[in-house]
């Protein structure tokens, strides 16, 4: 029988819970419900009056080719960021798990970008990829590539993908390294005695045992690419050129803050909220049940 502490007073637990609840209500439920409310409203041009329009904002959004394009841009961006981030960090983590000499130096350097803010990461990469003066631009010119992300949409996209992946590699690397180190050595050794080489052990033992980690990182990386890359985009391309890098979260900001379309921007953020709730639900559902392997 475990020992249990019971408060005699009926109200003390609620008093202790109150600060957390108050913060959740004030900083999440209140703004979220405001966004839902505004998404059903249509403001006049000066923001003085608004009228209830039901689902008109949502209907307008899904008729807007720019919004549908932004969905595609976000899909391309988040798939590229998650896939390349996971593959690169899995490669580096597998190698770092293998080496003994200098392991600390490699780990330290690979964890560096985690300490860099998203906006600063954007500025760093924009600086070395800067048209005409950037050091990488200069190298690319040697290969005959004309690099100018300010006027070329696909290059701008590549720039924000590189900057976002660079920043996320550290996080993925740490989780993969922890996952690799928690694989029982006996399994690897038994397979080695049976004659399985490193490649075969990697595909038949390491990859399946890492699948829960990989699945967790996949969800975290998609959420990261959707929402936390705002700083990278704002510090470099600002959605341009010609909306080539206008991901959904940047469009919410652009339409709401710069174009003062509160209703349309709120409708977009409600859609984003639904997406993140769905992603979280998927994650909880599968993390509870464990990934099948």
């Amino acid at each position: 029988m475990e020992k249990r502490v019971v408060f005699r007073s009926a109200w003390l637990p609620y008093v202790l819970l109150a600060p957390q609840l108050a913060i959740t209500v004030v900083f999440f439920f209140w703004p979220a419900s405001q966004a839902v409310w505004y998404s059903f409203q249509l403001q006049d041009a000066f923001g003085l009056a608004s009228q209830f329009v039901g689902f008109e904002n949502f209907r307008a959004l899904f008729r807007d080719p720019h919004y549908l394009q932004s969905f595609k841009t976000t899909a391309v961006f988040s798939i590229a960021v998650s896939a390349s981030g996971i593959v690169v960090s899995l490669l580096l983590a597998t190698m770092a798990d293998r080496v003994v000499r200098g392991a600390l130096v490699y780990k330290t350097v690979l964890i560096w970008p985690y300490a860099v803010a998203a906006a600063v990461a954007g500025v760093l990469w924009a600086f070395i990829f800067a048209p005409s003066i950037g050091i990488v631009t200069y190298l690319l010119k040697g290969f005959g590539i004309d690099w100018n992300w300010i006027i070329k949409g696909d290059q701008a996209m590549l720039l924000i993908i590189i900057a976002s992946v660079w920043k996320q590699i550290s996080y993925n690397f740490l989780f993969f390294l922890a996952g690799l180190q928690s694989i029982p050595k006996s399994l690897i050794e038994a397979a080695a005695i049976d004659g399985a080489g490193p490649a075969r052990r990697f595909w038949t033992i390491v990859i399946p045992l890492l699948s829960p980690t990989t699945f967790f990182l996949l969800v975290v990386n998609i959420v990261y690419a959707f929402f936390e890359t705002f700083g990278v985009v704002d510090a470099t391309t600002q959605g341009g050129p010609a909306q080539a890098t206008q991901i959904l979260v940047y469009k919410v900001y652009h339409d709401g803050v710069k174009s003062a379309d509160i209703g349309g921007s709120s409708a977009q953020s409600v859609i984003l909220m639904i997406i993140v709730i769905a992603l979280t639900a998927v994650q909880f559902r599968f993390i509870e049940r464990k990934v099948q392997y």
Binding site: L92, M95, V99, Y106, I128, I135
Partner: protein, 116 residues
């Protein structure tokens, strides 16, 4: 490592060195750029080794602020960041600790009441 494979160890080091070099490259370039004068950086290609304007540049931004752009001094920003970085985690943790104790206790109370 379960067996000796010198070639694989070599490949592992090569991959890690290349990876670490790419990861560290933007930070290194930015540090190098911070030790040069504006004219030096505007050259194509920019210098790849640290220059001699280190003290001058850092003194300028820390105390005087940047000469272009916002002109805000960085020492004040460092202080602001320090305050944020201290207050936010301390506040978060104290609120979470408060809410953790009663919720676990009320959860056990529920367990007791439901089990009879």
């Amino acid at each position: 490592m379960v067996e000796r494979r010198p070639l694989l160890t070599f490949v592992a080091h090569a991959v890690l060195i290349i990876g670490a070099a790419i990861v560290a490259f933007p930070i290194y370039i930015t540090f190098v750029a911070s030790t040069h004068s504006f004219q030096d950086i505007m050259q194509v290609p920019m210098p790849l080794l640290p220059g001699e304007h280190f003290l001058e540049n850092y003194k300028q931004v820390l105390i005087g602020g940047t000469t272009t752009g916002s002109r805000a001094a960085v020492d004040r920003m460092l202080l602001n960041s320090l305050i944020m970085a201290l207050v936010v985690p301390i506040g978060k943790m104290s609120i979470s600790i408060l809410s953790l104790s009663p919720s676990s206790i009320s959860a056990s109370r529920c367990a007791i009441s439901s089990s009879g």
